[in-house]
Symmetry: C2
Subunit: 153 residues, 2 copies
Amino acid sequence: MPKLHWEDFKPGAVAIYGPRLVTREEIVAFAAEFDPQPMHLDEAAASATLLGGLGASGWQICCLLMRMIADGFVLDSTSMGAPGIDEVRWLKPLRPGTQIRVRATVLDTRASNSRPAMGFVKFQYEVLDDQDAVLTTMVSSTMLVRREAGAAQ
Amino acid sequence: MPKLHWEDFKPGAVAIYGPRLVTREEIVAFAAEFDPQPMHLDEAAASATLLGGLGASGWQICCLLMRMIADGFVLDSTSMGAPGIDEVRWLKPLRPGTQIRVRATVLDTRASNSRPAMGFVKFQYEVLDDQDAVLTTMVSSTMLVRREAGAAQ
């Protein structure tokens, strides 16, 4: 199957990926493994925290975002990975039983100076709940293969 | 037991947390769940990628960092969580069989304007391998309870 290349991503393009239902069991299991703070493990303890009740670890939200975009487009692309993350903002709690989706927006694209066969696509990702409230935002660039290595942009 | 408060973190302070041995089985299991890209799943496919061989998902590195700092100080503190992440840089691959640690450095601290009972501590975290090479860096602020709410800084 043909794969998405760097040139296929245009600034302003928007897509929605998911959905994914997040259960209480997943939230507690993830927290027990990676982020065992009370607000991610136990309703009673969580009610006394800033989250105001049990909510997923912010890292779990990032991991679920990654899985939704992997299934949504990354695995159908020439992605070479990402050099890092520019920003994550955890705005609202992710509660048990919420169905989430990801809205991906292309912020900009640029060719790589050091690797003519590659370009960067900078995305803003928003994790949305059932009511389209934005729970988390993330900005990150993905490296993709160019159809025409070194061509003028 | 007494808990660490905002005032206990001073700019320039450094601590090491961990270690944690990362196995091939963990790398593949995490990738299969959250980040099923070839370079995190299969040696042969990974050898043709920028990673040059099987390496952990960058998200797994972040999650392991979280677990090491949770055990290292967060669970012994008055941490109220984090509003987000300022930056992550995945500099070198995390290979199967590597023992990692975290070096945490306090970059700066500031009281909250809107919540007098709370302050922010900005940390730089570095994930180190057995040879002290820096695999990943992360900058993030944690919210902590102040011993003296609203006191002059």
